[in-house]
């Protein structure tokens, strides 16, 4: 099993497919001893103050080892690893959150007290917001909390999901995303068990396989034109189209994800739809249709068109995700 998102280096290189040629030339990852040597007392003092490690119940040598292990796993390779680079790397992280998460993962009681004081209520509120239900939210939060506490064991070893937190975003954001993942995965697993009355008809209709009917040549051309036009779009445009037209997200929701104003999202959406139309027309004209005929073809009833946009958008492949077509 291959993991696409490998936590290696500052940029988290992608371990997709065969190893790239340059990976052989990449310097080896620094070991813990190297990182320990780079963590002199001055840097350690600085990071200690930044991380509030004292309030997490960590000793100084524990903190030093924690940082060295972190740097050995995720910092740049040996050739680039200097004291300054290491300092910059740790400064780019949410060091306080990272330290708390690591201390909790190690089972430090004081760290857990701090975690509960800081995150217990926000965790429950986030779960309730995600599930849209108070009881379901509380249940989801409790489930994750138990998992975080390390009640689950694998191969006789206590496993804490907090160990996978790497401090790039906030710990609360990570907790929210983890809750959302749990909720979505649970929903996707259990959706098949729902009765037919409860299913979302719109989604089913959109995702339903079209009847194999014989299409006129214009419709065939239009279908291929839509497919090629969507393939031509860049990732942001496809994300916008999918989020707005397929998922039915509001403009402000999309804007919050992309960190832009909803008016900007609206403009981008308009531009993307105009671009799709232009590309389709161009593609139709390339197949031999006149411009007028191409525009007439665009006016065809969508129900006559054998195009499943949901399937089409979600089966587009990108170089980084060759396996995504299998989704």
């Amino acid at each position: 099993m291959q993991t696409l998102f490998t936590p290696r280096g500052l940029g988290y290189r992608w371990g997709v497919g065969p190893a790239p040629a340059q990976s052989a030339e990449t310097p080896p990852a620094p070991d813990v001893a190297t990182c320990l040597a780079l963590l002199d007392s001055a840097l350690l003092d600085e990071l200690w103050n930044l991380s509030e490690a004292g309030s997490c119940g960590l000793e100084r040598d524990q903190f030093q080892m924690l940082l060295a292990q972190e740097a050995a796993c995720f910092a740049p390779p040996d050739a680039l690893l200097t004291r300054a680079a290491l300092s910059e790397y740790f400064r780019s992280l949410r060091l306080a959150d990272l330290t708390l998460a690591r201390a909790c993962a190690q089972g430090n009681e004081r760290a857990w007290e701090r975690f509960v004081a800081l995150y217990r209520q926000p965790l429950t509120r986030a779960a309730q917001a995600i599930t849209g239900s108070e009881s379901l939210g509380a249940e989801l939060a409790d489930q994750l909390y138990a998992e975080l506490y390390g009640l689950t064991e694998r191969d006789g070893e206590r496993r804490c999901p907090l160990a996978s937190y790497r401090g790039r975003g906030s710990l609360l954001g990570w907790l929210r995303t983890t809750l959302a993942q749990r909720h979505v995965d649970h929903h996707r697993r259990t959706r098949r068990e729902e009765s037919l009355d409860d299913t979302e008809h719109s989604l089913d209709i959109a995702a339903a396989e079209p009847l194999p009917i014989a299409l006129p040549s214009e419709l065939q051309a239009l279908r291929s034109a839509v497919s090629s036009a969507l393939e031509t779009l860049d990732s942001e445009d496809r994300f916008l189209l999918a989020a707005y037209f397929l998922d039915g997200r509001k403009l402000h929701q999309i804007g919050a994800v992309l960190n832009v104003h909803e008016a900007t999202v609206s403009r981008k959406l308009k531009r993307a739809t105009e671009l799709v139309r232009k590309l389709i027309l161009k593609h139709l004209q390339n197949t031999g249709l006149s411009r007028r005929a191409a525009e007439e073809a665009l006016g065809v009833d969508p129900r006559d068109l054998d195009v499943n946009l949901k399937t089409l958008l979600q089966t587009l492949t990108s170089p980084s995700f060759p396996e995504e077509a299998a989704l």
Binding site: F5, T177, A180, D185, R238, A242, S320
Partner: protein, 363 residues
């Protein structure tokens, strides 16, 4: 496709959370976005997490008013406060310097001839001086037949350029008439530059220089010693009248201050000033055609004043306030006005008054 394999190829929670918080670099952000464009599950996760964060921020904002609002001095538009304040300070400083500029005042010393060694009598009160002047007392030195000094070739209606920027309260000590008439040569005026905070000044700084073909008449009826520089260079009360000596009202104390144009240059109308009056900050000048000009920078620049009088203006004067005069004069002047004002007279002898030199009204 198993359920597990389907999830392995997704970004983990760390990356999705960092994406939602805009904490990723551009390349990784683009990769995640590319994945989100095709992955419904990860889009759902990101949108759910973002919505939960938005709700959390709403809760936080609702709880925030309990705490004291913190004022961030250096955030957002407040960053503009500092340069704006600095700009305002500079503007205020420039304005202050402009309107309170201490222009040096030239004192004219009317030097009596060295031959006259007559004892100097005590200065007279303004009333006495006026009476004496009216009755042609001996203390008055008149040089009616004496030609004007070479340094002051004053023609009727003109201001000598060589004494430009000179304002001189000049005082000639009273001398016996016979001595003055027979032995005294024409008094010479020497210009002394004095600071504006010089001592007391004659209240109505009005020297009437009747520059006529026969010569100048220096009406020296007031108090001073011979050869003594009259320190009383008034900052406020200065008036100079050439043509209108006979028309102008008699000043209260007939102080000998001479106000001459500060630059000697022609007024905007092309004419030389024939009458000038100056307060601390304002200078008014009349040209031969009767046009009045106002300067706020001691004659460097002039602005025309809209005529609000009838006839042709022939003289402009400045009258200092009683308070200022009583501080400067030895004795209080009860005839002095309560506040500073300018006076303008036309060729029919009518007068208009203004406190700022711009708006004029008949009394």
């Amino acid at each position: 496709m198993t359920g597990v394999s389907q999830f392995v190829s997704h970004p983990d929670a760390e990356q999705l959370a960092a994406f939602a918080e805009q904490a990723l670099g551009p390349q990784e952000h683009a990769r995640i976005l590319e994945h989100l464009a095709t992955c419904n599950r990860c889009r759902q996760v990101v949108f759910l997490a973002t919505d939960a964060a938005a709700e959390e921020s709403l809760v936080t904002d609702a709880e925030a008013p309990a705490a004291a609002p913190r004022f961030h001095w250096f955030s957002g538009w407040r960053l503009a406060y500092l340069p704006t304040a600095a700009l305002a300070l500079v503007a205020l400083t420039v304005a202050f310097l402009h309107f309170h500029r201490d222009a040096p005042v030239d004192l004219a010393r009317l030097q009596a001839p060295p031959a006259s060694d007559a004892p100097v009598p005590a200065p007279k009160s303004p009333q006495t001086a006026q009476t004496t002047n009216q009755t042609t007392a001996q203390a008055t030195v008149r040089h009616a037949t004496t030609p004007p000094p070479a340094a002051m070739k004053i023609q009727s209606g003109q201001v000598p350029a060589q004494v430009a920027d000179a304002f001189a309260p000049a005082t000639v000590s009273p001398a016996p008439a016979e001595i003055a008439a027979e032995t005294s040569p024409a008094p010479s005026i020497s210009m002394l530059r004095a600071p504006t905070n010089a001592g007391p000044t004659p209240s109505s700084a009005s020297v009437q220089l009747a520059g006529k073909a026969a010569g100048s008449t220096y009406d020296t009826a007031n108090n001073a010693s011979r050869g003594q520089v009259l320190k009383a260079a008034s900052q406020r009360a200065r008036a100079f009248s050439l043509e209108s000596a006979a028309q102008s009202s008699t000043p209260a104390d007939r102080a000998f201050s001479v106000m001459l144009p500060s630059t000697g240059r022609a007024l905007p109308g092309g004419e030389a000033p024939v009458s000038l009056a100056q307060s601390a900050a304002r200078t008014l000048a009349l040209d031969r055609k009767g046009a009045l000009y106002l300067s706020l920078d001691h004659g460097a620049t002039w602005k025309p004043v809209v005529a609000q009088w009838i006839g042709r203006a022939v003289a402009v004067r400045f009258h200092a306030a009683a308070a200022a005069r009583s501080q400067q004069a030895a004795q209080p002047d009860h005839a002095a006005p309560a506040r500073d004002f300018f006076e303008i007279s036309n060729d029919a002898g009518q007068s208009w008054y203004s406190s700022d030199g711009v708006l004029w009204s008949a009394r």
